[in-house]
Amino acid sequence: MSDQTSRVPQTVTRTARTRGGSEEAYLEVTDLQVQFPTADGMVKAVQGLSYSLPLGRTLAIVGESGSGKSVSSMAVMGLHDAKTARISGSIKVGGQQIVGMGEKDLEKFRGSGAAMIFQDPQSSLHPYFTIGDQIMEAYRAHHGVSKSKARTRAIEMLDRVGIPNPKRRVGNYPHEFSGGMRQRAMIAMALVNDPKLLIADEPTTALDVTVQAQILDLIADLQRDFGSAVVFITHDLGVVAEIADDILVMYAGSAIEHGPVEKILGTPLHPYTWGLLESIPALAGEPQPLHPIPGAPPSLLAVPTGCAFHPRCEFRSRVPGDRCTTLKPDLIPRTADTGRASRCHLKDPDQIFQTEILPRLP
């Protein structure tokens, strides 16, 4: 009765990530500041963010609501309204400076130089236009081709992202797709112009776990094919472990830890990252009590002085004097390993992690 002949499940092996790509940065963010003037004062959403990303690599930006992870990525796409956002610093994508770029040039850049997929594919696709129409529109915005050529391209892309029967599906409206299919269609739309940079803003958060797994596979697979740089924004450290090469942990608008995934998640050096790891229940072993970070993230209207994390940090007493409250630590290598950096005054974070944090991880 079933067309499945074998009695073995279709499986995917979780492979250790192979670090690919050149070392030359395709995306380079330097001292990025994004602020929004409001009636209550200046919202400092991103403060002095710097990172770079070569082609072929995936960077996960991790943080909680209000950490600045989405705001900074919107800035990379040039999506902030110049009337409401104050942006300074530099964002270079493939050598092009995005900060201060004119609207006409931004239109040319968006979708072709970099593309973005969003959290909720249901609300991110226009409900009144067909899937094909929306993909064709993206393609024709950057290619002067006929509708029928664009349609062929749309079908090709839908096929590429694993939508069955793309010739028929191209004429469907978003509501006729399931959640996972909609996200596939979003990905097809983002990649239709072969952008070298893909920004995925919580692309699997609204999806069920089995669908999430499919989408993560697809993104990884497409990245291998297209050789693009991927910025993956998420709050889920499990997803990061699966998909990313590098990780950037953000807190209150600043990066607090940056480096290769195995290192940052394996031996994190910042108390905030420790707190995150201690907040996630494990899937195996005897359940351990969770050690959540006390308090709540600060308001971006009044980010604490010094280290923004200091009001919630249980290791503040280990730093002599009042440096934590007065001096914002730099994001620099804190151990002999120069491939990673963290923003914390603690003297021997490595040892604290090994002796105090690791034993009580869930």
Partner: protein, 355 residues
């Protein structure tokens, strides 16, 4: 546990029928009508949101309900709390069937069965102070005398880790995590014996989520309240629950003690679900595991597959799966599986953390 409530001096507790568990769902079903209106309507269709759920919750026990969107877990929560009246089946609370009970007769039961919602933003009336919100719960069920109301409200706020002096603040003055605490205080006000928590931490950030989970866990230990804990996050459910039931398309496909279910899941769907969870342990040197990829989408609950509802996506499916609905049978101690070909996986699905 059933005596604890009386010892606390609660008024008019529901008597327990001898030998009955705290909560028992039998063949519970909920069908929603979809299309068609008016006399000339044709082709009325029914969404089989929940279709034949059997579940038992003992006093003080936590049972997790997991499954993906559309599996019926939230509908089940609304049935247990009788926000919905079931199409079929029974909901026995301490042996009394409340499935079709009138609103008036339900009142004492509503006090003992409480609900915590997912969205701490929309489940609190923005125009009421926290004191009013929690106080209303006290007053509705006549929990305390009028002059004792405020002290009791403050006691409850303190219990959930809020500043008791903040009773006259409005919900918008609190953060998401604090609002969820208010929701918990409101549920605790009536000294319930069972709390149905529908995705109580899903809308919260990771660090806040852990705070609320710890709070729920402490309350459970202190007050001996039973929980039906609904979540899509399998790690969260594992952390909190004694037993776990996995739902697929309106039915329970597997149910058992936590460790058995996570380590030796026997239903193919449970195996696929567990293997799909991205595991952070990979970066800590745990060897990567194979993960099962389900093909296609969940079928429509309007027209579900015959026999086993998972068969259309199952790699084990044979003719019998389309013909016979697999019963939820005990395949291992206390572990019930609804599958004709139930068997534990050959290798561990969930990566073991080296300790």
């Amino acid at each position: 546990m059933t005596t604890t409530a009386n010892a606390r001096g609660e008024r008019g507790a529901i008597p327990r029928v001898e030998g009955a568990p705290l909560l028992q769902l039998e063949n519970l079903a909920m069908y929603f009508k979809t299309s068609g209106d008016g006399v000339l309507a044709r082709g009325t269709k029914w969404v089989q949101a929940v279709d034949g759920v059997d579940l038992t919750v003992n006093a003080g026990e936590t049972i997790g309900l997991v499954g993906e969107s559309g599996c019926g877990k939230s509908t089940t929560a609304r049935l247990i709390t009788r926000l919905l009246e079931p199409t079929r089946g029974s909901i026995k609370y301490q042996g009394h069937d409340i499935a079709h009970m009138s609103e008036r007769r339900l009142r004492p039961y509503r006090r003992e069965i409480q609900l915590i919602f997912q969205d701490p933003y929309s489940s609190l009336n923005p125009r009421h102070t926290v004191g009013t919100i929690v106080g209303t719960a006290l007053r509705t069920h006549g929990m305390v005398d009028k002059n004792r109301e405020l002290p009791r409200v403050q006691e409850l706020l303190e219990m959930v880790g809020l500043n008791p002096e903040h009773y006259n603040r409005y919900p918008h003055e609190f953060s998401g995590g604090q609002r969820q605490r208010i929701g918990i205080a409101r549920a605790l006000a009536t000294q319930p014996k069972i709390i149905v928590a529908d995705e109580p931490v899903s809308a919260l950030d990771v660090s806040i989520q852990a705070q609320v989970m710890n709070l729920l866990e402490n309350l459970r230990k202190e007050l001996g309240i039973a929980f039906v804990f609904i979540a899509h996050d399998l790690g969260v459910v594992r952390h909190f629950c004694d037993r776990v039931a996995v739902m697929y398309l309106g039915r329970v496909v597997e149910e058992g003690p936590r460790d058995a279910l996570y380590q030796k899941p026997q239903h193919p769907y449970t195996q696929a679900l567990l293997s799909a969870v991205p595991d952070i342990a990979v970066v800590r040197g745990v060897p990567p595991k194979n993960r099962i990829r389900l093909v296609g989408d969940v079928p429509s609950p309007v027209d579900p597959p015959s026999g086993c509802r998972f068969r259309t996506r199952c790699w084990k499916a044979e003719d019998i799966c389309a013909e016979v609905v697999p019963p939820l049978d005990e395949k291992a101690p206390a572990q019930r599986v609804a599958c004709h070909f139930a068997e534990p996986p050959t290798e561990s699905i969930v990566a073991e953390v080296p300790s």
